[in-house]
Amino acid sequence: MTLHTPEPGDAARPAAAARLVYAKPDVLRDRSTHYCPGCGHGVVHRLLAEVLTELDLPSHTIAVAPVGCAVFAYDYLEVDFVEAPHGRAPAVATGIRRVRPEAFVLTYQGDGDLAAIGTAEIVHAAARGERITAIFVNNGIYGMTGGQMAPTTLLGQRTTSSPNGRDAALMGYPIRITEMLAQLPGVTYAARGTIADVASIGKLKAMIKRACQVQIEGGGFALVEALSNCPVGWGMTPQQSIEHLKGPVVEAYPLGVIVDRGATVAPTLDLGCPAPAHPEA
């Protein structure tokens, strides 16, 4: 399907010439989500669905669902999905990548999954320059389990497991993992966006699209960090959480493209390995 975006002057056109300006991408399943009111996951899902559709990817996408709030991502995106154990999505994606060179391989992880328990897997997938696209939703908290401190939790932030606020002396500092990963030559693209407002959402979509294109073009590892909110976990209203996101969160995690090495990074994948025999199911 084709998606139209409103153009300047659209409003001035006569009603008779009304055209479709907004539609649900087919790849987005027609159902309500389990996410809490005000949660940013829905926005990221939507952007991902739009990008997959625009790049004509759904029919050969194999995606990896994490453990965390997005564990049910396969309930919302109509693509082949495998569930990974907590933190292991990049390793699972590596396995898919190597035996399915023709597939579009996507991971979707939260910050507890990617930046805590799965640190080794994300670092080494990036170091190998695996030709996968990783979507990293960072809301600075473990949402699914009730709002505990994550490695990305801001200093001073109160969570159910840092009830007096995160104290650097006891609990260390927040990790800017996207900047860490961007140091690795296997990383073709690393960027950080946010769902905080409409303009940012547009930029975030462009980042996700670029991260997908890198894979299509045969580049290495591509990662987009999406700063998101968790109104329930943060103990805020959705509106307050958005203000918090735009303020201290964006201040701690600067927005922008951190690295874009084009497709110059030789992907580990194209070593001339033919696809292994598979059932044509």
């Binding site: 759904p58 194999i62 999905f81 396995g95 898919i96 190597r98 399915r100 080794a120 025999a277």
Partner: protein, 413 residues
């Protein structure tokens, strides 16, 4: 099944010469023979991490898999290795991992996920002596882990235990077959001797037939999207998933039990042992028979499903059973459960990487016999030789789906 330009690895025996060459006996190290058997069984992708005493398996794969245009990755950890296998297996590829005891502990997490989501994989454990970092000597200290432990949740995986390098090679093809037939991880366990020793082996390989999987993730092109997962938050749905698993396990228990009997036809006593311990037991049995003790060997080849029905039947005709293991006594618990007190069950084992000598085993056998004789002299015993057991096991072999294949290959039984 399309091969899509994949190099042919198993040359068809078109001529008698080729066949003879293929069947030539060569000296091979266990780890390398297992790796080569996996390659010939059609393993598409191997993921590993170095650990003694299985490192040669990884090294063999590192050289051979790229040669054949197949996938080899040395992962950053055993955790990553098995999760790479999970991803590759989810697409329908034939995958394998290998490790040794502490590495298997790390792999346990994904084993549970794979069992829960029905993802086939073959896992080889060349066991170390534990606990902890333990040692690298031959040991069977992971019997509990393999048959009852590893990951969380109500699940089982078939566990195959070869007693020779040649048998390990044969069982690799069977392992892939079982994994795909039942959509389950399958474990092959061997101790450091089987991994490290060299034995003359026949280069006879088997490639299990390729199947089309209606669950494999290949991209949702012209069909609804497929999901491979183990989570179900609805208790009723999750119970159904578990009931399906249990049904599968009953089916495996009914159809896939394997064991070997040796010199049990006239036996008063049996030694129950697997793997390297069974080889020691054979020497002990020969020595004990020279001293007039009628003893035979019952060797489980599948540790799960354990051949409990066969052992129970056998125990009715025995005066006693000695279980020999390279552990503190783990399988002996399953032996006792199967025997249910029908005859005394004794145990002899060594730990830490030591292997009992045949003399030690004969000593343990004599001690058992002495105890049995003191309790009830032989002239007061109503003893029937376990002939019926043989007939039963033959019947069961006939019922097995691979009986034909085994007979063709000059079966073990």
């Amino acid at each position: 099944m399309t091969s899509r330009g994949r190099p042919e690895v198993t040359p068809a025996p078109t001529t008698a010469e080729a066949d003879a060459a293929r069947r030539a006996r060569v000296l091979m190290k266990g780890n390398e023979a297992i790796a080569e058997a996996a390659i010939h069984a059609g393993c598409d992708a191997y993921f590993g991490y170095p650990i003694t005493p299985q490192a040669e398996l990884l090294e063999w794969m590192a050289r051979r898999m790229p040669e054949l245009g197949r996938v080899f990755i040395q992962a950053e950890s055993e955790l990553a290795a098995i999760n790479m296998a999970l991803g590759a297996a989810a697409t329908g590829a034939r995958v394998m991992v290998s490790s040794s005891s502490p590495g298997i502990s790390l792999m346990a997490e994904a084993m549970s996920y794979m069992a829960g989501s029905g993802t086939p994989m073959v896992l080889v454990n060349i066991m170390r002596a534990g606990p902890g970092l333990g040692g690298i000597g031959p040991s069977q200290s992971d019997y509990f882990q393999a048959t009852k432990g590893h990951g969380h949740g109500d699940y089982r995986v078939p566990v195959l235990a070869p007693a020779s390098i040649g048998e390990a090679m044969e069982l690799m093809a069977d392992a892939f077959e079982l994994a795909e037939r039942y959509r389950t991880p399958v474990m092959l366990v061997a101790d450091g001797i089987l991994g490290q020793a060299m034995e003359p082996v026949e280069l006879r390989f088997r490639t299990p037939e390729r199947h089309t999987f209606d669950w494999a993730l290949t991209g949702a092109s012209g069909r609804p999207a497929r999901i491979i997962k183990s989570i179900d938050l609805d208790p009723e749905v999750l119970e159904r998933r578990n009931l399906d698993l249990q049904h599968k396990y009953r089916e495996i228990t009914r159809r896939e039990v394997r064991w070997e009997s040796w010199q049990l036809e006239d036996a008063d006593y049996a030694i129950v042992a697997y793997g390297t311990a069974a080889r020691v037991a054979r020497s002990a049995i020969t020595a004990a028979r020279e001293r007039g003790i009628k003893v035979g060997l019952f060797r489980p080849i599948t540790l799960w499903p354990f051949p409990e029905r066969e052992l129970a039947r056998l125990s009715r005709h025995l005066d006693g059973i000695l279980t020999v293991e390279l552990s503190s006594g783990q399988m002996v618990e399953d032996v006792r459960l199967a025997v249910e007190g029908r005859c005394p069950v004794a145990f002899h084992g060594r730990m830490g990487g030591l292997v009992p000598t045949p003399d030690e085993v004969v000593g343990a056998l004599k001690a058992l016999k002495g105890k049995v004789d003191r309790a009830r002299p032989p002239e007061h015993r109503d003893h029937t030789p376990p002939v019926t057991h043989w007939r039963e096991s033959e019947d069961r072999a006939e019922a097995e789906p691979w009986a034909h294949e085994r007979a063709r290959r000059g079966g073990r039984r």
